[in-house]
Structures are given as C-alpha cells and as structure tokens.
C-alpha cells in the first residue's frame, strides 16, 4: 500500500536510531534482553525502558499535537505535578478512586484550557503563554500538597504506577493505549489534517473555514490531559505526590522526543508514532548508560549531542543538502513559513 510505504519511510530514521542504540547496549551488556516474570509482572531492561519511558511518551503525545500547530507547551511538567498532587490529595481525602482520577484529569484539562485560551483567544505567543503555568504550576501543586510529599497507600491508585495487566506494567499499557487512541482519533477523523493545516498556514486555514481557535484550545487541552495521565502515573509510582520534583524538566524531554521524532518545531506535518519512538530513544539512552556502567551524568551530555545533531540536520541550510528526518517535505518551504505573519 502507498500509505504504508510513506509511513515506513517517515519513521525509519527513528526506528533505525532506536535499533542502533538497543544494539549497542546489548553488545555492551549481554544480559540486556533477559526478560523474566516475577509476581505476575514482566521484568527486564526492555520492559524497564518501556515502563520508565511511559510518562515522557505520554507528554510527547500531547506535545506533538501542540508543536504541529506551531506552538509549544512548557507547562506540562508543572501540570504533571499539579495532577499528581490532586490525585494524592483526592485519594487521601477519601474521595475514592474514580472521583479522584476524574478530578486529576479535569485539573489537567483545566490547565490546558488556560494555556489554550491565552494562545488562541488572547493571541499570546505559546512559549510566553505556557511559561506562566510553568512558573506558577509547582506553587499550585505545593499549595495542594501543602508543601509536603503527600503519600498514600491506596492500592487502586498505586496500580497505575506499579501494577500490571497480563504481566505488562500499567504505565506501558496506559502509554500505548493513549497513543493508539489519540492516533486513531487524530487520523481517523479529520483532526490530524486540520491541525497540520493550522501549523503550516494559520491564515489560509482560517480563510478555508477551519475553526482555528477551537482547534488550538482543544490541542492544548489534549496536552494537559496527557500531562495529567503522566502525573497520575508518576505519583502512583512513588506512592506520593512530590510537588517539587514530579515531572521536573520532563517538558524538555517531551519536546526533545517530538524533535527526535522528526516533527518540525515550525509546525506542520507530525507523526505521533515517531514521537513515541523518540521518547523510547531517549529512555533507551538513559537505561543504556545506567546499564553499561557509565556514570549517569553522561546522560545530559548525550542529550545535548542528540539535539545538536538534529539541529544541524533540521537547519534550513542543511535542509537543502540533506533531506533526512523529514522525508516528504520540500526544502525551503519552512524557511519561508517563518516569515509569514500569523494573524488569527
């Protein structure tokens, strides 16, 4: 099928990168692929990569959509902290599992709504608009936890962090399910195309009758929702809400995952699958360094190197020479896009 060919051509650089990294790790650490089952749950390094990578993968889902509209969401880390705090608070106050989850997810949606309104209605630059919640968000989370690490023992909630279904860790399932559902919604409906249209040319999309404001708000709300899921997982994992450290700097990892996934920061064509692979690449590097006995401090340097490589590959100057991470994009179109005035 034509679509399948296009799809595989779109994600092969990411798949190849992931394969090379996993290959390298398994050479240096032969026991890498050992997977065992204990207490009805899978254990092993590949599982660990999936499990640890789940929060960033979740954030990357929302972030991909936001970046596709030419935006950015700096607040997702703070939103994670808020939603983790809400879920810990809800469960310790005795609201029960489902009301608590509903509250946490609503908090995420509300944060997304706030960002979306600032961007779509007030016309504030996304990076500026989401900075506000990035700064204030942790304060709000601390307000909810009253500064302490709010711990809980509710098995139902803990299940979301360290439980498993059919031996697969719950975070992995949530990540995969969310990825699948969002991909289905976005690609089975017309949302995907409309989001790309907004990101490529906001004015022309408005003139073609696309409801750009509503879509922008919806996209930021999706990002908030994904951050809420990640926040619940992070809190459930450590059985407590740590307003200071939950999701700290994960917004940067999420942005990195999207960029590694080949979605341009200048908006337009996006691939959720590629972003998810991007998140796995980042986590594989983390795990690999840990396993291979290198000090974990190399992690950040490697991330920096990854960004630099991508910068060079994606830069307009290089684009004309090398078309690598975006296989079906015309060189030069992006640099022109930068100059366009964006008017709502």
């Amino acid at each position: 099928m034509n679509g399948l060919v296009l799809f595989s051509r779109r994600i092969w650089p990411q798949l190849l990168t992931l394969a090379v990294i996993v290959g390298l790790i398994s050479v240096m650490f032969p026991g890498f692929f050992d997977i065992s089952i204990a207490n009805g749950r899978l254990y092993g390094s590949p599982i660990d990569i999936l499990n640890r990578g789940a929060p960033v993968a979740l954030l990357a889902i929302g972030m991909t959509l936001v970046i596709a509209t030419r935006g950015i969401d700096l607040s997702v880390g703070a939103v994670m902290a808020i939603c983790g705090a809400v879920s810990a608070w809800g469960i310790t106050e005795g609201y029960g599992l489902f009301p608590t989850l509903a509250m946490a997810l609503s908090a995420g949606l509300a944060c997304g709504l706030w960002n979306g309104v600032l961007v779509a209605l007030l016309g504030i630059q996304p990076i500026v608009a989401t900075l506000i919640l990035m700064v204030a968000g942790r304060g709000i989370a601390q307000l909810i936890t009253e500064g302490a690490i709010l711990t809980f023992n509710h098995e139902g909630l803990i299940f979301f962090g360290s439980g498993s279904v059919w031996a697969i860790p719950t975070p992995v399932i949530i990540g995969v399910l969310t990825g699948a559902i969002v991909t289905l919604i976005v690609r089975r409906s017309a949302l995907g195309m409309l989001i790309e249209a907004i990101g490529i040319n906001l004015r022309a999309s408005t003139l073609a009758g696309v409801n750009t404001r509503v879509l922008l708000i919806a996209v930021y709300m999706t990002s908030g929702f994904c951050a809420a899921l990640a926040g619940i997982i992070a809190a459930a994992d450590i059985r407590g809400a740590d307003a200071n450290n939950a999701g700290l700097w994960l917004e940067l990892d999420a942005i990195l995952a999207v960029v590694v996934g080949g979605t341009s920061l200048l908006g337009g064509r996006f691939s959720l699958i590629a972003s998810l692979i991007g998140a796995l690449i980042i986590q594989a590097v983390n795990t690999g360094i840990l396993l291979s006995g290198f000090p974990p401090e190399f992690n950040l340097i490697i991330k920096a190197v990854i960004i630099l490589i991508i910068l060079v590959l994606q830069s307009p100057t290089m684009r004309t020479v090398l078309v690598f991470f975006s296989s079906d994009k015309a060189a030069g179109i992006d640099s022109e896009k930068q100059k366009e005035t964006v008017a709502p």
Partner: protein, 509 residues
C-alpha cells in the same frame, strides 16, 4: 520646476532582466531618472515594479542588464551597498524599528559617540535638526510607534536621504495615508526635488501621480509599456497603458447581456466596513458573473474580504433571495452560507504549502462538515483525481505537496477546494494573475462554465478585456468606494477605463 533636460540621467537601468522559476519578472526593462525630477512608476501587481526596484538596489541579482549612476556602471550588492552609492529606499511598510525612538531610528549605525558612549543629547539634537528640514517638530525621544504612519514615513525618508542623498525610491509611501497626510508628504517630496534629488515614486493613486510626478513609466507583465511626460498624458490614456490591451488584439467589445431576469440570489444593502470600503449595495443573481474593476488599492480586494467575512462588515446587512438575513462576520459563516473565496495572495492566504493536493482540495469541505466526520480517503482521492482531470491540474499525483506546484496549478487547486463544497456564490480575487497563458484561458473557460451551471460569481481582475469577456455586470471601484455599475452593452474596456480614471471631485475625508 528646475530640470536639467540636457544632462545625462542620474540613474539609469538598461535592459534589466530578472527571471524567477516559472516567470519572467522583468523582461529587458529600460528606466531612467533625472536629477530633480519625480518619476512615477506604475503598474498592477506583478507588473514588475518591486522587482525593478530590488534590481536597482541590488536586493535581487539581476540576470541581465546594467545599472548606471551618473553614466557609470555600478553594481550594488544590497540595500546597504546601494546606500553607499547614494540610492536610498523607503518601502510601503515603514522599514524602521517601531520600538526605538525617532532619534535612534535616524541614527542607528551612525550614532554620535564619545569614548564609545552614545551621547543621547547630541543624537537627539542632530535628529531634531534633520527633521526640521522636513518641517517636522516632534519629540525625537519618543518611540517611533507613537507617531502616525505619515510622520514615520517622513522619518524614513529623512533617514534614507541623510544616508544616501542622490536617489530616493519611494515604494507606495501613501498607501495608508489620508489626504492631509499625503499633502504633508508631497511638501517633503517637493523640497527634496528642489535640492536636486532624483525621486522614484510608486503609487497606484492616479490623482497623486498627476499631482506630484514629472514623468511616468508604466510596466505591465514585466515589460516596459512606455515612459511619458506627465503633462503630455491624460488619465484615460494612462489607465489604458496600465490595463488596456494592445489595439491589434481584437476582443469582444461589450459584455454579455443576462440571459433573462434571473432570480436575485443575494442582496447586500449598505454593506461596508470603516476604513476598508464605503457601504455599498449589491445584488447577485443566480448564474451571473459580476466583475469588479479598479486599480490596485482601490477597494476591490476589500470588497471581497468584507463579503466573505474576513474583515467583518460594520454596517448594512445581507439577505438571501428569499429575504432571510445572513450572518457574515467570519469566513466560517460565509462558507456555511454557501460562499467560497479564492484570495489574491495564494501563497499566504490560499494554499497550505506542505499539505498534499488532495488535502488542499478537501480542506474547506472537511472544515465545513466538521472534524468528526472525516471524508474517507477513497472519496478524497476520487474527489481530487476528479478535479485534477476536470481542471487539468498538472501534478504527478494527488499526493504531491501543493507548494511544489506552479502558480497556475495552485490556483486551480484553490478553485477545486471551493468547487467540491458546491458553493452558490464564489468570489475570485485576481484568479488569473501570475499564471501562464494556457492556464489563463482555462480558468476563464471555467468561470463561464460554472456560471452556465447556475453558480454566481464575483470576479476581481485587473485584466479589463477579461472582465468584458465573462461579466454580466461590472462594478467599478475607486478610492474605496463603488463608483459605477456597468451592465450589458455598457461593458467595454473604454467605459471601464473612463470610470476608473474619472478624477475625484472632492478630496476624501
């Protein structure tokens, strides 16, 4: 007016040629500017005015031809370099920095310093002194953005003249000024003329050109139509140079008479928006093509934008033929009412460059039926292939990003986008601009076909004989006002030219 007729021209372009992929933007154009004259440069969009200016200042590399300054060949490498030769340019959108003060704008890059420190006092004093030559007594310590566009224009001119001093190129400096401000600007231009500068003046306001210029050069489609002394030419002749066809080309001299008393499909009464277009009345009948004629900036695009809700109307109302009132304050509402709109600037307002031909064609229909009900791939493909065939869109397949297509094919994709929504009223703004001759004819044929199928069309064009060919009625727009409506036998290029050229009786408020 002191004018040294005999001396060689101050600035001269000889056989300048510039080719862009797909189009010849300038085809061997000659142009000369004398010291102490105001030389108007005229032409419609795409005629090559801006390209000529950019070749003169070196912003574009020309493909052929010479630039001579005082008889010597020069080769400026860019705006800054041209300044060094004495050629300064002021663009329509003021090319100064709104966040800096007036004095800073005037002196940026040349600030008076003492021990490496800028002396604000000296800088401001110098700025006041410079501006006083232009009759401007303002607080130079305030940011530029706190002054009106007219004042900003004068400051931009002052900077250009200070830095260059021989040639001043004014690219549509009056586009957003009122008549009082234009007068102020003209005083400045006259005093510069006295000082012996050569001034190139680009504008599409005929009144202004007749008021200020000494000579006029007209370009059309990248070619030189002619250069005339202003006192030797009248408005009708000038409009003919700009819009008219060469005489040998025989075209139908009058428009179609409407087949019958068609039912009124849409009626706009007192429709307008302040600062854009004066309120106008307009009825559109089923199966009718209404042409809109007027010069660039006359209010023709504004008419389309107000009708389509791009700039929401602030007076009047729109009704359907059956009398129901229509809400038209956004493109979405207009589309819901069965409107479609192909804007003039395809690149920024029309196509979504990175999306495929198929997606671009499906976009408006998809936006109208909502994101939930995605048009199935098969249908999208069928739709796209259907129109690729019908409109003869030259693309290898429907999955090609539309940005890679030529202008004419992009225009057809835009048309296809609206045709799949099956609109009852389609607005086309310059549908044939910047596309090759073959595609041109096809689009005209298409307009006639659509009309025959009962669609109503409003077509804006600067090709008058084209309007004659397909219009049942023609609106003439001038100075942001609908000034005439021609129908039936009245639709001739001559009549249109006369209506466009008719001088204003009173100054616009």
């Amino acid at each position: 007016m002191p004018q040294s007729e005999a001396s060689q021209p101050l600035l001269r372009a000889r056989g300048v040629r510039k080719v862009f992929p797909g189009t010849v933007a300038l085809d061997g154009v000659d142009f000369s500017l004398r010291a102490g004259e105001v030389h108007a440069l005229l032409g419609e969009n795409g005629a090559g005015k801006s390209t000529l200016i950019k070749c003169l200042t070196g912003a574009y590399r020309r493909d052929d031809g010479d630039i001579l300054l005082n008889g010597e060949i020069i080769d400026p490498k860019g705006t800054i370099d041209a300044q060094g030769y004495g050629i300064g340019t002021v663009y329509q959108e003021v090319n100064l920095l709104p966040n800096l003060t007036v004095a800073e704008n005037l002196s940026l890059g040349h600030q008076p310093t003492r021990f490496g420190m800028i002396s604000t006092r000296a800088m401001n004093a110098r700025a006041r002194e410079v501006l006083s030559q232009y009759g401007l007594d303002i607080d130079v310590g305030r940011s530029l953005s706190s002054y009106s566009v007219a004042v900003q224009q004068v400051i931009a001119i002052a900077r250009a003249v200070t830095l260059s001093g021989k040639v001043l190129i004014l690219d549509e400096p009056t586009a957003s000024l009122d008549s009082h401000e234009v007068e102020m600007l003209f005083d400045v231009i006259r005093s510069l003329k006295q000082r012996g500068l050569g001034i190139v003046f680009i504008s599409h306001f005929l009144d202004q050109i007749f008021t200020i210029s000494d000579r006029i050069t007209v370009l059309r489609n990248g070619r030189l139509v002619g250069t005339e002394a202003t006192r030797d030419i009248d408005r009708v002749a000038l409009v003919n140079m700009m819009l008219g066809r060469e005489l040998e080309q025989e075209v139908r001299s009058h428009g179609k008479t409407h087949a019958g008393p068609g039912e009124a499909r849409l009626a706009f009464t007192g429709f307008g928006r302040k600062g854009r277009i004066e309120p106008f009345d307009l009825t559109i009948q089923a199966g009718e093509v209404v042409g809109v004629a007027g010069l660039l900036g006359s209010g023709r695009t504004e008419t389309a934008e107000v009708l389509f809700g791009v700039a929401a109307h602030d007076s009047g109302e729109a009704r359907r033929g059956d009398g129901t009132v229509l809400r038209l304050t956004s493109p979405r509402e207009a589309i819901a009412a069965g409107f479609g709109f192909c804007p003039e600037d395809r690149k920024t307002d029309g196509v979504i460059a990175d999306l495929t031909v198929r997606e671009n064609i499906a976009l408006a229909l998809q936006a109208r039926i909502g994101w939930m009900r995605r048009i199935p791939d098969r249908e999208q493909k069928a739709m796209a292939n259907d129109y690729i065939r019908k409109l003869d869109i030259r693309t290898p397949d429907a999955e090609k990003p539309v940005g890679l297509l030529s202008g004419g094919n992009q225009q057809k994709v835009m048309l296809a986008r609206w045709l799949v929504t099956n609109p009852s009223f389609l607005i086309l703004d310059e549908p044939t601009r910047g596309i090759d001759v073959g595609a041109h004819a096809e689009i005209i044929r298409l307009i006639e076909e659509l009309c025959a199928q009962g669609m109503s069309l409003l077509v804006i064009s600067s090709e008058l004989d084209e309007l004659v060919a397909y219009s049942h009625r023609v609106l003439v727009v001038r100075d942001r006002r609908h000034v005439a409506e021609l129908s039936g036998g009245e639709i001739t290029t001559d009549n249109m030219v006369r209506a466009i050229a008719a001088p204003e009786k009173e100054a616009v408020a």
